[in-house]
Symmetry: D3
């Protein structure tokens, strides 16, 4: 097949046919859990941890997908193997798992036999490094919008989900202040949480600090960064963090699967440290590169085309 393959509801289909009927609950309710894994040098990084998190999300929402973790890992590997052949050398793949609540009977009417079991899908896409190159080089500008993060008593951020309207609205607000900015959402008490697509970490007084786990996705890249920091002798703490702490941090970072880390150089227009990517950022990115066996920062800066 000359097209990427997508796994959808038990079948492998060409990506151009990977479509959901408009009565799928993923469209009707946004009741979907998801994961994103990526390759480094064509090999999936920490797939087991992403799948473990996916199964925690599935347990929370009570979707029975009828696939073991091993089966899903096998499907994932098969997809990557096939689809990697279709991208240029040096490119990397993002691998998406998502599972919706199944087809929504009311809207499906009598037109089709409704498949009420969850809709599981796995697909890949070439990582568009160009999206993050400038942010990698110069740093990210974060804005705290008036829109607040959804609290865990509504639905829990420790699950990776797709009912993301608040993220969408928050990013719109952020872009009002700066078209390049991303939103750093606060919780209902004004504590810093995360962005719509990344964990937030700050470095202050020699300690790497994360917002409390109550309000955030326990990111795999975040965990990796904390491990790498520990290997550099840098202690880690998790606690409630406010905007004041962020503005006065020595450095701040985003961590996320596609780019590992980005430096945060401004928050609400105020420069963090001297307003440029800091020394710890570079040390951590070097450690990342060592771990995954390629220069992750260069990869983003050059768009993966060495």
């Amino acid at each position: 097949m000359t097209e990427p393959v997508v796994y959808l509801r038990g079948e492998f289909v060409p990506s151009s046919q990977a479509r959901l009927p408009i009565y799928d609950a993923g469209i009707v309710l946004g009741a979907t859990v998801t994961e994103m894994t990526r390759t480094f040098g064509g090999r999936l990084f920490r797939l087991e941890e992403h799948l473990a998190r996916l199964y925690r999300s599935l347990k929370y929402v009570r979707f029975e997908i009828g696939l073991s973790r091993e089966e899903l890992a096998g499907i994932s590997q098969r997809l990557v193997e096939h689809n990697l052949r279709l991208v240029p050398p040096g490119a990397e793949l993002g691998l998406i798992h998502f599972v919706t609540a199944g087809e929504y009977a009311t809207y499906a009417g009598g037109a089709a036999a409704v498949r009420a079991s969850p809709t599981a899908c796995v697909h890949t896409f070439p990582l568009p490094f160009a999206l993050w190159a400038r942010k990698m080089a110069e740093g990210v500008h974060l804005i705290t919008p008036s829109v607040r993060h959804v609290p865990p008593q509504c639905y829990d951020p420790k699950m990776k989900y797709r009912s993301r309207m608040h993220f969408y609205l928050a990013d719109q607000e952020a872009r009002q202040a700066d078209p390049e900015a991303m939103a750093l959402l606060l919780d209902l008490e004004g504590n810093v949480t995360e962005t719509s697509g990344a964990n937030f970490l700050l470095y202050s007084g020699g300690t790497l600090v994360s917002p409390s786990r109550r309000n955030i996705l326990p990111g795999v890249s975040r965990a990796t960064t904390i491990e790498l920091a520990a290997s550099l002798g840098i202690p880690f703490a998790e606690r409630d963090v406010q905007v004041f702490d962020c503005l006065n941090a020595d450095e701040a970072f985003l961590t996320s699967t596609p780019y590992c880390m980005l430096p945060v150089t401004r928050i609400n227009g105020v420069p963090i440290g001297d307003g440029r990517p800091g020394p710890l950022f570079h040390r951590l990115m070097d450690a990342w590169s060592g771990l995954v066996g390629l220069d992750v920062r260069a990869q983003v800066l050059t768009g993966g085309t060495v």
Copy 2:
């Protein structure tokens, strides 16, 4: 065409082809606004009000759909006209509008030209009255789950949206207590709000009472019910309502587009009034029937097949 027609991104397609690519933001982010209108005797009821609400939602999320309200009304009428011919006599149509944030560039990769403009879709389905027949006859059992409604500072319930994970989780909790029950969500302060698909009203001390508008969709059926109550001389009040008030109400109701009203006869296992559909319910349903020109209660009870 012997299939129902769907309007999707500027085209009319047969319903079997009405599918979204898996990188549409409606699937990736749940960033979707929507409406549901229905026919009575084949004629759309209060379409203008539904479209007005849709455009308020669009303004809130800042989707530019490139269609005037009149154009969208025209598309809607055309769909109903066509699709009604395909259903048995006596059947009615539900008409869905939904608009997503468009295609999500990151996942679409280079495989397709991404259409970043919002994805607008209009489709219909025959109202499955059988789903509500028993509830119409005997009443609904509502359960207040531990999951809370998303507060307006995250995203506003006055918009009809599809980031509905909390509704999904809440209904799961409710069904644990009674497989037939629906969730009546509380807000973060413990005030009663709405169900995942209907407004909640109670009748107490001679007044029809609604939860505060802060926490609810301003339903078209709710507004109609309030108007009909007024025509019967029954005053209306909007205020914060707690579970105590609900348990001690004389009657309680759900209002929603497909069934107009359902009687609520139990909440958390406690009978409301004498535990049966009450006299005001019947008077209001009679008034509804008068307004729309057919016996709406009988239609639900008989499945629309007279």
Copy 3:
């Protein structure tokens, strides 16, 4: 005297000498209550209402100022009479009352006999209409910042006070998005409150609506506007209002002493109505002009120099 006169701690002094020692509690604690009144055609407007509010504030903070409301009115009139002579024809005066908690003993040391009784001051300034001319013509852009309004259980917004750090921070955030914008603060639950210097009103569905009084200063211009609206047959309601309501209002306004009303034409970048000052705004400003005997809109637009 060729300088404006200021009343300060029982004396009338030239404005160049109206200074507070750095150990006054007004500087040390920000524990200050205040009022602003203005003239129309040189006559103070609703001074009694402003003084009544000042005495409510004083009662709340328990300052004993040793001046009756009548005495303070007399001082106010005397100041205006004197100072008005020093401004060009057509200019108007703003009249400020403020009362601090007195001199702060700890910092005053032995250097001076501390005056622990409250520091009362009355002063005037020519209204700088030029500051508001463009906003009057084109409308105000409001931004909802992430900073929230101080809740009444900390200190009550119904008092006009000078512990205004949150207003200062909120306006900074707003100006990040648009240097001309003002902040529209939300309360801790996400309800709309007021700006740092004005009340906010919206007009929707034929009703003039204000945020709940819990979170706002009960403004004199706001009360006047509500009265004028009533005289035009427009009903008024007070309730919790969210951003959704504001974006979808037909019109929105600020009311404040110096300019009576300003039209709000954008909120978070979204145009209100058609994005221009609306018909009700013009009708209300006409009514204001009738009430105070001069064209208030023209006065602001021309800078008061006819």
Copy 4:
């Protein structure tokens, strides 16, 4: 000069001339950040840490004061050197830095060229030990008022600021119950925070415990006390603390610049421990005395006049 010198807006002036015009934002808005440092034996204690905190506050409020930390340290030293000569032997100085948002254009009118840049001021005062002597000997009575601390999403307590209306109201409430009492403010969730002028610490089960940093000024005396406790082998923990914990603590303390520490012997009328300054208090005060080279407890008890 026979008067103490004050640094004000770039100049050194005699203290009797250290006054702010009534249109300074420090008076109009209470938008002021501040620090207090003190001397021990005539030498400033931890000035660098106070200045570091001041610059964190300045960054948070975005005041550009046009002075480096070194320049401000130099000014501070010069003031102390000069002013110390004017106080009796044995006296100590408190050193105040404060910075306001500058002059407030609207009220300044055309009378003066407005200086919009921040107003920076440095001044000293002899520490009035007599104010604290009885509390040092017998202990402080704390009262938890109904007024709550301002939450960080309004403005952050980690900044030392002068919008202190809530502190003023809280202390009034406390003094109602006992004219000698101080307020121990709770946050919006009922956690203990701090007093209007000091940090609160408790000693329980062998551990020194502080309220969470979310709600408090990170006090320099607090940090010193924690260090001294560590040198005595006493571990430290930071967590949410409630009134229950305080009433049942073995000992409790206030820490603040002018007096280092005060024992807390009653809270809401309930004796802490046996209602008298406890053994740890005395050990810590001895450690303080060792650190700063004089008997700090005796200094307060005798009014600094040995």
Copy 5:
């Protein structure tokens, strides 16, 4: 019988034998609902309304007491008839209904046959008017304590219950400030609610105002007072009320069964109006006296012994 009679678990017993085993849930859990009614001139006032409220409470907690409202009314009348003979002329009776969750099996062990059905009890006591005489004459002093009212999402104040620990703690705090004071509890948002034994009303700007019903017992004396005010042409409003409003009210009142109304003349030490019972208080008490056929104020002042 020369002793008052008590109804307890289906029997009439002399009051000296009206005791509960220590394993009754009323003692073990405080899971008890209750009512208090009183006589005027020996006749029970609005017993039906009290019983209606009791049955609303019972429905909320789901106690099945096996007695109809009519039966319970009969028992109540019988008790009053009997017990009234035992008190001096001019005395009045308070009538208490309470129902506990029944006997608590775990603690009862094998020693007794546990009666798991609810424990219903009705008893009377002579109203001790002397307790309220001074407050009637001079007015009540209310203090807002730091302890907050239990929110309705824990248990609803619209039920009259006996899990009253917060009331107990709040009154202790109030008495610290003034041994004669009562606590006026705030809710979690700082709104005024009620005292431990009475509803709170204020009179301001010509309107009788009550805190929102969300946070209060819907008192029978409160309802009567509102009716009497209406008969005097005084409008009534229900809304969120803060301390600021109370301090600045023209008058304030408590309403409660035993004394009908008491004037509130101080709150947190601040006089309400001129600090004495006001004219509306006297007019309303006159109206009360007219309604019940005796001078209720005099009765309290003289201790019921004419």
Copy 6:
């Protein structure tokens, strides 16, 4: 005496006479603090710790009981010694201490000399192991109800109290979903707290985790379990825990005096781990058995009759 003895208000009485007058504050207000201790092999376990907690509770509510901790210990031992003789071999006693606020003057009328001092009572009961046998064998099902735990700013859960209406309501809700289920209450922010009679612990990623102490009784069995876990090399952490964490834990437990520990095998219908008591549960119960010198699990399973 052939009846168990009860200590009540200074006297030892047979249990059949251990009754409170209906005007005791324990009945009228639910203002009661309490403790439960138990025997193992007839010897009281950690009585000192239970009494220490009781005296912390007494200090918080300010009851002066006029008994030293030693005196109360002596009374407790005497009761156990006597009452143990009346139970079959192998049975164990629960020992209850409770103290109410004393007799409530208003309701006592002139009928009796009121004893305003606190009512202290100590009693025992044979532990009804049969109540917990099935839960010990198969595990407990926990349900998170919509009713929330009372927050510490109302009254503090660190005190063991008897104003337990919320617990009563919560358990009713839980039993609606499963007649055997217990309620696991959430706090107002949606964090997990405790059940009506036990602490909750979870085991996840090799760590024993407890909800934050802010919201829970610091249970003696909980502390013992944490100690035993430490002796097995299992670290312990205390933090805010949400439902997501519970559903995804490896194991979960209840700890409480009568049964030491119970395994939690389902929460909201979702199996914890594999849905059966897990290996750590068995190891901890073995450690408990070693500590107290008998097989505690067997004792519950067999009803204590070996």
